[in-house]
Symmetry: C2
Subunit: 253 residues, 2 copies
């Protein structure tokens, strides 16, 4: 299945499954849609926090087709969406056409699928894949730089690596600027405000031995959290793991 | 004179002279102020065109003190400003307090003063300095990437270099990402739509022999031109050559 076929499968409600492991060579993106009154401050937040919020595309007021996905309609082409009103989760839907407004602005934000594949290609094992878990994610005490009403701490994802894999993994992921880039922290979780590594705030716990070191990358849940916390009148995001699949081949940037 | 003293000299109207050759080690910035209704699209324009519009700071709605300049007030601390209404130049003033509105958003954009100094330090002669001219600038046929109402072609500045200086000059200026970065064109001016190099659209003609090659860098006049062309109800910019002097030492980025 190519990306266009996958998008059509979601558009015509043939499926609303997770996009994890789908169209593996192609960039997948987080989606955040906001009324235009919030667009300047949210864009400013993303530009001030590029590690947590690597923009792959900003879709202008009312625009529904992504430049990265031919003939796409971001109102129908993702498997699942979440609607938040005034900072409160309202419902999960498979289509946002009935919610759409001409003053909506959409932010497509990179995710870490891209660099995981590059790490795997270098022989770096991804234990969460092997344990069939969603990558563990944690709230930290690392503050993002505020922009207008948007503020909050960074959320990170964690992958336990062998000591001698770390240098290469840093070097490789730093090249993926549109997928969070290099790690934000290596080692002791408490230094970034994580008290219990076995209890992730999102995703699932991954087991690892004492030969491995936890390595933390900025995570695309950050902009979603920050967006909701600002209590915009309405905000729409993709459902976790249910992303926009673009036509863009994942490449080093 | 340090930057704070220079800003106070302008604030208290002791002088309204050009900031060229003033506080030479410090970053100077172009200023563009717009009502917040234009802020998202102008910010998006800058992020889509980082070579022409390298943002050094975005000041949020109503903010008058730059983080880069202690105790500054951008309404008084530049020597001269220009007011445009609906895309038409209205007046040049030395103070914008009476024009200020709480919904104004201000963009501070890098300029090429920074890399000129680095080039001079490497022994690269700046002929326009030697000839006591304002650097020549040209409209080109290089389109900027549009954002909302903001669109237009790039304006470039030109410095004639000896063939064997070019590689080093490219390498040096590429490191100044907040000051337009590396050249956008080297050599034949007609390839970028410049028909007569002796007739710059802004600045002054610089004479050079056949041992030199014209090298073109993206120029901060671009965002100003693009801003005016979009005919915003009001736009305020610094007067050419009359910039904000910040406290930030100019450094490689």
């Amino acid at each position: 299945m190519n990306p266009k076929e996958a998008r059509e499968m979601f558009r015509y409600k043939i499926s609303s499954e997770t996009t994890a492991n789908m169209c593996l060579s192609y960039l997948q993106a987080n989606l955040i849609t906001l009324p235009s009154q919030y667009a300047f401050e949210f864009l400013l937040f993303c530009t001030r926090n590029p590690k947590a919020c690597p923009l792959v595309e900003v879709m202008e007021r009312g625009q529904t087709t992504s430049k990265l996905a031919k003939d796409s309609d971001i109102r129908t082409d993702l498997p699942r969406y979440r609607i938040y009103r005034n900072g409160v989760f309202e419902e999960e839907v498979t289509d946002i056409q009935s919610h759409w407004r001409d003053d909506f602005v959409t932010f497509l934000i990179g995710c870490s699928f891209t660099f995981e594949k590059a790490l795997l290609n270098q022989g770096v094992r991804m234990l969460h894949h092997e344990q069939n878990k969603v990558v563990p994610m944690y709230k930290t005490n690392i503050p993002c730089e505020k922009a207008g009403i948007f503020s909050g701490n960074m959320v990170v994802s964690m992958r336990p690596l062998l000591q001698d894999e770390i240098d290469d993994s840093v070097r490789i992921t730093e090249r993926f600027q549109s997928s969070h880039g290099g790690p934000v922290h290596i080692g002791n979780p408490q230094e970034i405000g994580i008290s219990d590594l076995e209890k992730p705030d999102y995703g699932e716990n991954v087991e690892f031995g004492s030969d491995r070191v936890p390595v933390f990358w900025a995570c695309g849940v950050t902009p979603q959290n920050v967006g909701v916390s600002a209590k915009p009148s309405i905000m729409i995001s993709h459902s976790p793991g249910h992303m926009l699949i673009t036509d863009q081949l994942e490449e080093y940037k």
